[in-house]
């Protein structure tokens, strides 16, 4: 992989590894409880109750980046789960229950006390049911009623007017589900839930996301991006999974400082930058080199992915007198915001404009339905404003389907054309 350019990126990776190592240690030595949960769960509640939570998607990305996905996914198929089923959310399960689990990265995931998911699709409950049954762990699922109030420019309302934006009945319902989750967390951790503590945490999450926003603005405004997309992702994700913790806030601040200072000094991640590219969709975790493969040949630099930009727009909530309700508003529509019309297409269009994007790579995930939807709306919206689109049909974690050479060839041809415009 390309050399890391920012000290904060190295700190982020190391911080995350250290966090995981200490989690393993605590779980094995003192049987401390911990949870595995979907990326769109309210991590804040777990944080506030001091029950560490491992993000399922993050762990899948780690397994995939270590090139272990084919092994575990083959095992999954051998067990009778067919090849068309979702891999992003099931890879972590496979790596903990099938085959040689000791091969998993960093010693593997220990047995969790709790598994938790939000039901954005119809399959994830089944993945988690299977998983929970295997571990005999508690399972908490949050159901997901759909939004019907759909103002397209949601990000203009989500910080201050979230009560109106996300519909009261959905928010109240989510709060009631949170109460059930809190009762479990109280039982598991032996601690009492304290709303003031959650409020303070939510305030720190706001601060963290404000730092990310400043970094994002620096990227938008600098003539050439001061930080590559992959390094943005490493920094943002490490902090988001522990959002609101002192470490996460200071990590976000260090990242902001470094990006802003590089921008002020006009340091470019790729001095050869001629084309600014956006990546729409989750990452290609098994082939991160793809994102730097066209810098030399085409001056094509990936400057945008959802991970950094979604921090401020998706997470900031002002007016925290009822912190559970505010947290509900952060959880209740995440999937719509990132994957469904009108919210995903309108937001990505806005991002393309503010980041002066020349071309977009749009991932249509194979075999992961909710994240596969909405991509045509995104592609058409971008094309209609003159941004050429390269469609990538691939899975986020399943390297078995990825022809790295062919993809590079096809992408090069596409970029040749973009460069000629």
């Amino acid at each position: 992989m390309a050399q890391k350019q920012l000290t904060s990126t190295i700190a982020a990776s190391e911080g995350q590894k250290a966090w995981f190592a200490s989690l393993r240690e605590r779980v094995f030595e003192t049987r401390a409880p911990y949870a595995i949960g979907q990326a769109d769960m309210p991590f804040e509640l777990f944080q506030a109750m001091e029950v560490p939570m491992v993000s399922n998607q993050w762990w899948a990305a780690v397994v995939s980046a270590k090139r272990l996905a084919p092994y575990y996914l083959d095992k999954l198929n051998e067990t009778g789960f067919h090849k068309g089923l979702c891999r992003y959310c099931s890879l972590s399960m496979a790596s903990t229950v099938l085959g040689d689990t000791s091969q998993a990265p960093w010693g593997g995931l220990p047995k969790p006390s709790l598994l938790a998911a939000r039901l954005t699709c119809d399959c994830v409950q089944r993945v988690f049911e299977n998983w929970a049954a295997h571990f005999r762990a508690e399972l908490i699922l949050l159901d997901a009623p759909a939004a019907t109030h759909l103002p397209p420019r949601w990000w203009e309302q989500s910080r201050h007017h979230w009560r109106e934006l996300f519909e009261d009945h959905r928010l109240q319902f989510m709060v009631r589900q949170f109460e059930r989750l809190i009762a479990s967390l109280e039982r598991i951790s032996g601690r009492k839930f304290d709303p003031d503590r959650l409020r303070a945490l939510m305030e720190r999450v706001n601060r963290q996301e404000e730092y990310f926003e400043e970094a994002k603005l620096a990227i938008c405004e600098a003539p050439k991006t001061p930080v590559r997309m992959q390094e943005q992702i490493t920094n943002v994700m490490a902090a988001q999974w522990q959002r609101g913790s002192e470490w996460a806030v200071s990590q976000a601040k260090a990242f902001r400082d470094e990006v802003v200072s590089r921008a002020a000094q006009r340091i470019a991640a790729c001095p050869n930058e001629r084309l600014r590219i956006m990546w729409v969709g989750a990452g290609l975790w098994y082939d991160l080199d793809f994102y730097t493969a066209f810098e030399e040949s085409h001056g094509a630099v990936f400057v945008w992915s959802m991970y950094l930009a979604f921090g401020p727009d998706g997470y900031i909530r002002y007016g925290l007198d009822d912190p559970l309700l505010a947290l509900a508003s952060r959880t209740v529509s995440m999937n719509e915001q990132l994957h469904n019309p009108p919210w995903a297409n309108e937001w990505i269009l806005e991002q393309a404009r503010s980041h002066r994007i020349d071309a977009a790579f749009v991932l249509t995930p194979l075999g992961t339905r909710p994240s596969a939807t909405g991509t045509r709306f995104v592609e058409i919206a971008l094309e209609e404003v003159g941004i050429p689109v390269f469609s990538v049909h691939a899975d986020m974690v399943d390297a078995r389907l990825w022809d790295a050479e062919k993809m590079r060839r096809d992408a090069s041809l596409f970029l040749d054309q973009v460069g000629r415009r």
Binding site: T79, G84, C121, E129, L150, H169, F173, P342
Partner: protein, 341 residues
């Protein structure tokens, strides 16, 4: 009761009685032949053909006999269908998409989902302006049709009605006026007294939603008798219970759709599998055909456990991935290996 307006519904979890009480004739929106250019432009290929057709015809204005379209939350594809249609209505001014209504019914069996769904059902009754009397009349009509569906299923269990014929007949429960469906059935049932299945093995079909009776036909041509299918278009159309007439009609309607309708979002698994396990325990099955195509992204997660359950009861099974004739030989072989108990 006025019945002069037509409401398209996308599945079994739209409360028929509320629409009927509001003066609509609800009709299930079905697949139809022909190209789907609008779906090809806007929809990823993860959508099932039926939803692609619905999207396409609505965008094209081809189904202008519909006054409204009602979509429930009980599958992710329908949720997305709703969002896509809303977006086309917003951004393509020339499109003539009928009025859309979304019914936020959840199928996790938790107290919160119960309360939420009941409140959403009350809201729907208010939105459609249905009176209590009209609701009661609609319940009576719909329950009558449910009774006839059970009669059809009973004939089949007695071995007097082919599974494919039963499935096609039960379509009427969703695609016809329910009153007319109920009125016609007794006469048609009366003549069916001949045994058609004396020595043929009784087979249950389990798996992905069935689009039509073609899989049934394959089984029947191979000599099998499809006695049931775990599918809302077939054995589970009427459910276990009627809509209760002894309580507040809105609660009764909601409870029917919450507790007694099939959807991929039913949780936990004990409720999802209860009907299937009960059928197996009844001891009338000679074999089970699992239909789990590779496009499926849901049932495949349940299949290994369902298979294990079946094996523990020593009932043979076959797995069919594609519902086409090329796969007839293994299917025929399987059916041929079974013996009627």
């Amino acid at each position: 009761m006025r019945k002069d307006r037509i409401a398209g519904i996308t599945s079994n979890t739209v409360p028929w009685e509320i629409l009927r009480a509001a003066g609509y004739t609800p009709l299930l929106l079905e697949d139809e032949a022909g190209p789907t250019p609008h779906a090809d432009r806007w929809m990823e290929d993860v959508f099932d053909r039926r939803f692609r057709v619905i999207f396409d015809r609505l965008c094209a204005g081809a189904w202008n006999h519909l006054d409204a379209v009602v979509i429930p939350r009980t599958s992710e594809q329908e949720h997305k269908l709703y969002l896509y249609l809303r977006e086309i209505a917003r951004t393509q001014p020339a499109s003539a998409i009928p009025e859309l209504y979304f019914y936020n019914l959840l199928h996790t069996r938790t107290p919160e989902s119960y309360d939420y769904g009941l409140e959403r059902t009350r809201q729907m009754v208010r939105d459609f302006d249905a009176s209590e009397d009209e609701l009661r009349a609609a319940i009576v009509e719909s329950n009558r049709a449910r009774g006839r569906v059970r009669d059809i299923l009973q004939k089949r269990r007695e071995g007097r009605l082919e599974g494919s014929a039963a499935l096609e007949w039960i379509r009427g429960f969703y695609s016809e006026d329910r009153g007319v469906f109920a009125d016609r059935a007794p006469d048609q049932l009366k003549g069916m007294n001949e045994q058609v299945a004396t020595h043929r093995p009784h087979i249950l079909i389990k798996g992905a939603p069935l689009k039509d009776a073609s899989l049934h036909h394959l089984v029947e041509e191979a000599g099998g008798y499809v006695v049931a299918e775990d599918d809302w278009r077939g054995s589970r159309a009427a459910g276990d219970t009627d809509v209760c007439l002894n309580k507040d009609p809105v609660t009764a309607i909601f409870e029917k759709y919450f507790y007694d309708e099939v959807s991929p979002r039913v949780h936990p698994v004990v409720h999802r599998d209860a009907w299937y396990q009960r059928e197996i325990e009844r001891g009338h099955l000679d074999g089970v055909l699992f239909y789990v195509p590779l496009e499926d992204d849901v049932l495949g997660w349940d299949y290994p456990a369902q298979l294990a359950y079946l094996a523990s009861r020593s009932i043979p099974s076959v797995l069919v991935r594609e519902n086409v004739r090329e796969h007839d030989p293994p299917l025929a072989e399987f059916v041929g290996s079974l013996h009627r108990k």
